[in-house]
Subunit: 348 residues, 2 copies
Amino acid sequence: MTNPPPPRRRRNSLRATIHDVASKAGVSKSLVSLVMSGSDRVSGESRAAVEQAARELNYRPNAMARGLVGRRTRRLGVLLSDLRNPFFGDVSSGLLERSRQLGYELVFTTGDREERYEDLAIDAMLELRTDGLILAAPQVDDAVIERAARETAVVVLNRRVESDLCDYVTDDDFAGGRLAAAHLSSLGHVRIAHIDGGPGAGAATRRTGFEAGIEELGLAGSSRVVRGSFTEEGGFRGAYELLSSGVRPSAIFAANDLAAIGAVSAAEANGLRVPRDISVMGYDNSHLSRLRHLSLTSIDQAAAELGRLAIDRILERIENGRTEAIHNILPPSLVVRGSTAPPPESTH
Amino acid sequence: MTNPPPPRRRRNSLRATIHDVASKAGVSKSLVSLVMSGSDRVSGESRAAVEQAARELNYRPNAMARGLVGRRTRRLGVLLSDLRNPFFGDVSSGLLERSRQLGYELVFTTGDREERYEDLAIDAMLELRTDGLILAAPQVDDAVIERAARETAVVVLNRRVESDLCDYVTDDDFAGGRLAAAHLSSLGHVRIAHIDGGPGAGAATRRTGFEAGIEELGLAGSSRVVRGSFTEEGGFRGAYELLSSGVRPSAIFAANDLAAIGAVSAAEANGLRVPRDISVMGYDNSHLSRLRHLSLTSIDQAAAELGRLAIDRILERIENGRTEAIHNILPPSLVVRGSTAPPPESTH
DNA sequence: TAGTGCTGTTGGAACGTTCCAATTGGGTGT
DNA sequence: ACACCCAATTGGAACGTTCCAACAGCACTA
């Protein structure tokens, strides 16, 4: 005769579970669950007993267990391409504000500006089963994004994606580029240069918009575009190239604020003062451009609003089951500060 | 006679589970689990069959289920106090680098610079049952941190905490403050001012170090400290106060780089040129200070190294079960750039 | 031939929740 | 006195994994 094996106790940790609370309060675990979820069909005494027991045991619900059985986690994953770029800080504010209003929780990751790490980060979030995924200016291929969009709700921020499985929310980079050209022209500049963002997301559109604006203004002959990047280094190099060439531009539009700062440095290294001798402007209206010492004219792309919209779009997918793609393209606006002025030889 | 109720199918989603893979591959779920975890006691054929089935079904393991049953999630939570401050981008690089080496995954949150949101963010991570929690310059009370440390491994970054339940890793703010005083003095400055970081983490220590250095140098009579904050605004106001007072300092040490930029702005607004008329230095050696246009002398606190150490400390707790508190205090170093120079009346 | 050990595989319990169907018990209406 | 209802409560199944003990073959050995 074999006696039954003793009940196996594995108890993952010393942390109190819903069962512990239940037995301490003298009720069933189901009732504890009801109290925890704030149900209104629980008697006052039961509620009080459960709450006290939970407090005494330091009970903390296990999100994994909850997420396993429930259909929703009310948690969204956010991939930020770069924790160093203040622009994403502004975007995150919008994301956080809106998600708090709507009772969702956000977890952030980053691929640290490297494509393979972004790929891994996306996988990790998919395994975590967040209700949706927000990708802020991701570097990965469209195919990777589309694969993710097949598994969960996906909204891409600050980049256009050729896929009808996900939404994107971005500013109108074309209009922004055009706006920059118009601003510099309106100050009287004729020789206007653009240092582009190279392979960065949105850079091509920004450049195309600039070129279109220049064309409309009839300045195509006197303007030019050089290659740069979304970094200070890119702006510095681009400006250096421009300033050491035969005909100097009197105004430079850089791909973003960081690059604009690089361009300012290059100008000063060439003995030029901004904006007296040369005008420089950036893009993003990040807090960098607002720093008084820099006071950079810039194009504002309403970072926080982009973030808020991204949350709205993803919740439509999650809660209302929308599946057709929506593309939100916000109009950018010009913010004039101290780094742009009429050209020195202006006859204003 | 009651017939048994039909088996209830709830199936949370249309996503393939380990069971689906198992039946498709014609093996048991246990074997699939073994293959997925890379066990070496699986035959080649079984492995191939499982891998193919998984691929065809687009199988992705559910991290919640895994985390529920397993003892470890190999996931760490990180609370960043501010997504806008580039310093935390540098810290994160160190965290990411080291955690990748050691096979841990990081999830970030932020309280968006507000104490109550930080509190909520900490709760959320605790519910997520990450193996540990890294708090980067948190604003919450020591008591909140200690409460968290009672539930999981906690390491605090860039702030000292009076608790023997958690570690902290920070730079030596006292030494940093002293270093700043010494640098400015060595250039010949006598009237040296400090704009402090107000209530910010580490600000008090930094100020005390500065004061001690000034004392040792015998400059206590000619130097002073004014109140500021870790923001550009704080630096601007502090510098304004200093510059509109009777005896102007010839050198200013601001609480961090952001505040230093504010101070530079204020100086320029007063018609002073940096560093010709007045020297200004910051703290953090963030990428802001490296921008050529600013070229700010700063105190480097090895942000990435702080991050790496934080990971090491927390893994000692998690994997080796260490419980006594360890405090890592890194020596800061001076980085001289273009914003500091001998005072105008110097006889050098 | 029977025992031993090894390799590969398996079913089932457990993790901590939520959700559902079922149950209890005290009114209420007739 | 009965059926009926409603509010409060409960046990158990399910979620998708991991882990453990057990087992089926097979090759050796004695």
